[in-house]
């Protein structure tokens, strides 16, 4: 009995859990090892576990562009795609923040009729299939002349980013409480002073988290960019798609895959400090 009790309560990992964590690490990280190798391979015939000829051995007499030379050259459009991705992501984040901050404040603090219906409406973009939104929006944007333009893509990116942003900012406002602002007002601060000296500094960590996450979602969007960009605007996900659409992965495609992974890794390292698991704990439309 005592032994069973200990097992049930233990805060240590069971042997199965240790094994499971190793499997998960292999499942997530494992595929990146051959990916890195592939990007440096020159010839990699089938049963070999390592390339028969490495890129460096063939540097001087290569007829075709070698993987990293090609990836880093303007022909691959990697630089253009990176600039587009960052640009679109930043503008989307700023607009999203501007729209969601006031709404989140009201949602966190006020009660009004139809509030739960409104909250459900706000999370609707997450549960309507993206393909349906994408194609229907494309028809609308072709009529409006927005298809294949930055404006069109930025507007479309607002749809999947708004629900996350509103949710995260609402959580921030709920945690903030009203007391500090009221105290500042009682002490004679003006509305502007309250906003600048009290609200904003206290909101900042949460706002940074929301902004980072929105940027992340925007840079990962493939379908809306692909459908609405009409091939005229490449971002990192759509560039990679065009490289692997044939179902094969050569050395240059492996290089581009690694480049596309980089922003995510950078964001992961930055955001771990800001994005807290707790912000996602809220259920749906309850």
């Amino acid at each position: 009995m005592a032994r069973k009790f200990n097992i049930a309560l233990s805060s240590r990992l069971s042997p199965f859990q240790k094994f499971y964590l190793l499997i998960i690490a292999g499942f997530i990280l494992g595929p990146f090892i051959p990916l890195i190798i592939q990007s440096f391979a020159f010839r990699w015939a089938w049963p070999d576990l390592l390339p028969g000829t490495w890129w460096l051995e063939q540097r001087d007499r290569a007829m075709v562009p070698l993987a990293w030379d090609y990836v880093l050259s303007p022909y691959s459009r990697v630089w253009e795609a990176t600039v587009n991705t960052v640009l679109i992501g930043s503008i989307v984040t700023v607009i999203c923040l501007a729209i969601c901050l006031p709404a989140a404040r009201v949602l966190a603090r006020e009660k009004f009729r139809g509030k739960s219906a409104f909250e459900f409406f706000l999370s609707l973009p997450l549960i309507v299939p993206e393909a349906a939104i994408g194609i229907a929006l494309l028809m609308m944007f072709i009529r409006l002349g927005l298809a294949g333009s930055y404006v069109g893509i930025i507007i479309a990116h607002l749809i999947p980013t708004i629900p996350y942003m509103v949710r995260m900012l609402t959580a921030v406002y709920q945690g903030l409480g009203r007391d500090f602002e009221e105290q500042a007002m009682i002490l004679g601060a003006s509305r502007w002073q309250v906003l600048r000296l009290v609200t904003l500094p206290m909101l900042l960590p949460g706002v940074v988290a929301g902004a980072l996450f929105t940027f992340l979602v925007s840079t990962n969007i493939f379908l809306l960019t692909f459908f609405l960009g009409q091939g005229q605007i490449v971002t990192l996900p759509t560039l990679l798609f065009s490289k692997i659409a044939g179902g094969t992965l050569d050395a240059s495609a492996a290089g581009i895959t690694l480049i596309v992974t980089l922003p995510g890794i950078i964001l992961l390292i930055i955001s771990e400090r800001f994005i807290k698991e707790e912000a996602f704990g809220k259920g749906f439309g309850n």
Partner: protein
Amino acid sequence: MSVSSSIASRSGAQERMTARERRTRFWQMVQLVPIMAILVLLFGGALVLAILQSLGFAPWFGVNTFPDFSYFGALWGSSTFWVSLGLTLYYATVSTVIALILGILLALALVKTFPSKTFYKYLYKLPLMIPYTVGIALAVLMLSNGGMLSRLAAFFGLIDDPAQFPQILKTHYGWGIIAVYVWKQTPFITLAVYAVLLGIGRETEEAAAILGANRRTIFFRVTLPQILPGVVSSTLICFAFNVGAFEAPFILGGGFPDTLPVVAWRYFNDADYTLQLQGMATVVSIGLVAGVILFGYLAAYRRYERRMGRN
């Protein structure tokens, strides 16, 4: 000061209060307008246009037979549509269920204390941070007949020709597609469940253990009911995404008959632009199917919550 005048001034103050209240209420609504406007215009506009077009309203192509149900009729009348629908739902469901099981197991491990915990808290979020196309590239590299798993099988002497490796990609079993979804969505579900686990703490589990419950009972009777909100919201999002996803089935799928989003995209890019109306009927069908399933799921969950006496 007479009594009547004091009453009059008090009611005046009350009126001023309600006027101020009305003003703040008005300002609150104003703050909600931008978000509302964007979603209604984009969402509502797209929805109305899609439905109108799928019912034969497209004057810009010289087609206007509204209301005309022949596009839905032609679509729902063909057997390939139902095969496509079945494939779409099969990929979406299987990958969501696998990701859910893996995600819960991972979240339960992450609440424990262990030396490499910080490392794992970074690691498990990695797939969340990168596009699906990266996952697809990794699937091509690992799972294709000339890929790494096939090479490993040859290394251990299990096969001696790439053709002997079981075909995983480009079949209608869709294990390549499912692998990509699972790889990308297990972290998402883990995140949601882990967040709830952190929120509820361990007291209830401890109480159950003291009362003599074993680990299985604790999980199914104590932990699972408490993490259910996180489970439901994250699986809803994953399932809806999988139903509407395009890139993985397009690259890793088995070809004709394709999943519904790919079918819609093909109709839409056909040289015969009147097929766009058929494509719109497909799009509306995707929305309808997803809507019905998700609504049913939510309704079942609500009923469960009510039975548990939570709402």
